[in-house]
């Protein structure tokens, strides 16, 4: 897949913004400024960046407990995201959702979800609605390797295939369902093999290569838009941190962890080297992008910290419509 400089830098910028958001959130949590659970996307940025670069505003995504990256890549407002992590009134849900349930319906972010695997069949509902309304948009379900063992995954692939729904299933195989690697939890070598059971295309790609992810997504999206039904794309990656911040990840092999974080494996460092090596961009241009991301997330933190807490009367608002 040949990309323009603009496309390449856009992928890079998305990844850098996600990393900056996540690592800042990690620091804030370790400093005791954030409460709740924080499941970070560091290391997996190429997937969100690659997938969402193929989507328009009308296309929808359903996300997971590890959803910050998807939301940023789909165009989410980092100020409102950070304020939500702080539980502030200016957050996406006025502090009702926290990290795990951020949504922005207007730009097709149907919501992150705290229940593993729950978003997969919901994406089918979204895809059904898009088709019902006569649109040629698609719905993307992001989920992890662990979620692919839930019944929801199998029910969803079966329905999407049977009804030829415009759903794109993006499995982020980050090496761990909490602590358990796929080799101990799943019967197949590549999780994409499971697509065969439902008669749909299934591919496994390097999930740390945004261009490979983008190319596989394009194929799946084109197919879905054309009414030919769903696809399963497995993106192999590595979760840099524990399941959540506070999980020491004693189950990780330190050598393997080191290999995945190295410059030739980390999605951002590797893409950086490639952009410079192929003379797509100069180091200074990339540093400018990184600085912009630092400034942006710094401003988001300031915005969140200066925002008020939600008012007491909001506690029972919006239980019903």
């Amino acid at each position: 897949m040949k990309l323009s400089k603009k496309e390449s830098l856009s992928l890079y910028e998305t990844m850098v913004r996600i990393r900056e958001f996540e690592e800042s959130a990690r620091t804030l949590m370790l400093e005791g400024k954030l409460g709740g659970f924080l499941h970070l996307y560091s290391g997996e940025e190429a997937i969100a960046a690659g997938v969402c670069s193929e989507l328009g505003d009308e296309d929808c995504i359903c996300s997971t407990h590890r959803g910050h990256g998807h939301i940023i890549a789909k165009g989410g407002d980092v100020n409102r995201m950070m304020a939500e992590l702080y539980g502030k009134d200016t957050g996406y849900s006025q502090g009702k959702s926290g990290s795990m349930h951020i949504a922005d319906i207007g730009i097709g972010i149907i919501g992150a979800n705290g229940i593993v695997g729950a978003c997969i069949p919901i994406a089918n509902g979204v895809a059904f609605a898009l088709r019902y309304r006569g649109r040629d948009s698609v719905a993307v379900a992001f989920f992890g390797d662990g979620a692919s063992n839930r019944g929801t995954f199998h029910e969803a692939l079966n329905l999407a295939a049977t009804w030829r729904l415009p759903t794109v299933f993006i499995c982020e195989n980050n090496g761990f369902g909490m602590s358990t690697p796929p080799a101990r939890a799943s019967s197949v070598k590549n999780l994409s093999e499971r697509a065969a059971a439902y008669g749909i295309p299934g591919v496994t790609v390097d999930g740390n290569d945004p261009v490979a992810v983008k190319a596989a997504t394009r194929e799946a999206v084109v197919r879905a838009r054309a009414g030919k039904g769903p696809s399963l794309v497995e993106c192999v990656t590595w979760r840099h941190h524990g399941h959540y911040i506070g999980d020491p990840a004693v189950y990780k092999d330190p050598e393997e962890q080191k290999r995945w974080l190295a410059a030739d494996r980390d999605p951002i460092l590797r893409f950086e080297a490639r952009l410079v090596g192929e003379k797509t961009a100069k180091g200074a241009e990339l540093e400018a992008i990184r600085q912009r991301a630092r400034d942006e997330i710094g401003a988001a933190i300031a915005f969140a910290e200066s925002s008020p807490d939600p008012a007491p009367e909001t506690l029972t608002e919006n239980v019903y419509r």
Binding site: C60, C62, Y92, S93, Q94, K96, S97, H101, A103, D104, I105, I110, G111, N113, G114, I115, A118, I120, P121, I122, A123, N124, G125, V126, A127, F128, A129, L130, Y132, R133, A139, G151, T152, E155, A156, N158, L159, T162, W163, E317, N318, V319, Y320, R321
Partner: protein
């Protein structure tokens, strides 16, 4: 006013709402070709086509999730899970997804979905096809729960549920399917949160819903011969609950029997009793009595199921004990 069976009223509600709103669609187990187990969706597939009446795989989680995703996009799914007992197969989708989406997203989306399911026994359907599980759902903020007891309110409640912007669990009693009664023609709704006084009385309030309501009406007739004038209130909607109607009746009678087919322990009758004790203690002249099923699964044998179900005799005995 036309006479209709309970099943026809349920079918008519869906038909009327589909006619008036193109965003309404029906999906679930065996709703299209078969027209559902008891004919509750018969004819809809033929009239509205495969785009709006959809047989799903037996995948309860996916059925409810289909509704959650579609409702988030503004459609109005009417989902059939057939038997209420099967809701165990999709509890996450009901309690963590449908019920909480509007709150978690702080009102960015409504969740206008309806889950229809039949409840209750009396047809020898045994432990996994006979339960009344309303209390599981009234415990979950974000859900509305209604239960019909006549063809008229079956149509009105379901129609209202389809127009509601929050998820509604609509419980239909399978032993009422053949019951006939007057039902208004055309589009017809009954507002939620408004109890129906089915019989006025001075001495005692019988509170109930679904099929047990009919047993309360029967018991009230017999009690009258004994000189006890019972008021019978059909709660119709359990959430929202018409506490005002309950308190107004108890203010008049001072005595209450709550009767339901669900297991007594943790049943919704306990919630009503607690609220009555809290908000209406001074109105009461006697303890609050409950008549409900024993703490056991629903048995198969007709001989045992008769003992399991609250009947007129038990309701009357509870009533008499208050005087």
């Amino acid at each position: 006013m036309p006479i209709m069976t309970y099943v026809d009223a349920i079918r008519d509600a869906q038909r009327q709402e589909m006619l008036r709103d193109p965003d309404v669609f029906v999906a679930g187990e065996d709703v299209a070709l078969m027209g559902s187990s008891f004919g509750q969706t018969a004819g809809l597939y033929k009239e509205f086509g495969a785009g709006r009446v959809l047989d799903t795989p037996i995948s309860e989680g996916q059925i409810v999730s289909l509704g959650v995703g579609a409702a988030a996009m503004g459609l109005r799914p009417v989902l059939s899970l057939d038997f209420c007992d099967f809701m165990g197969c999709c509890m996450d989708e009901i309690l963590n997804q449908a019920a909480k989406m509007t709150y978690m997203l702080n009102g960015q989306v409504g969740m206008p979905l309806v889950i229809r399911a039949n409840i209750g026994g009396e047809i020898g359907a045994a432990a996994q096809h006979s339960q009344c599980l309303e209390a599981l759902f009234t415990h979950i903020p974000g859900l509305k729960v209604v239960a019909s007891s006549s063809p008229r309110n079956a149509k009105g409640l379901l129609s209202q549920a389809i127009r509601d912007d929050s998820p509604v669990i609509v419980l239909e009693h399978k032993a009422l399917n053949g019951m006939s009664g007057e039902v208004p023609e055309g589009a017809f709704t009954i507002p939620f949160g408004k109890a129906e006084t089915r019989r006025a009385g001075r001495d005692l309030t019988l509170l109930s819903w679904s099929k047990t309501l009919l047993k309360c009406l029967g018991a009230a007739e017999s009690l009258e011969k004994e000189g006890i004038d019972a008021e019978v209130i059909d709660l119709v909607s359990l959430y929202p609950l018409d506490m005002d109607a309950i308190l107004a009746s108890v203010e008049k009678t001072g005595r209450v029997v709550i009767a339901h087919e669900a297991v007594e322990t943790g049943g919704f009758g306990g919630e009503i009793a607690a609220r009555l004790a809290d908000e209406g203690f001074d109105l009461l002249d006697a303890p609050i009595k409950r008549v409900a099923a024993p703490f056991a699964p629903v048995p198969f044998s007709a001989a045992l199921e008769r003992l399991y179900q609250p009947d007129e005799n038990r309701i009357m005995a509870a009533a008499r004990s208050l005087f």
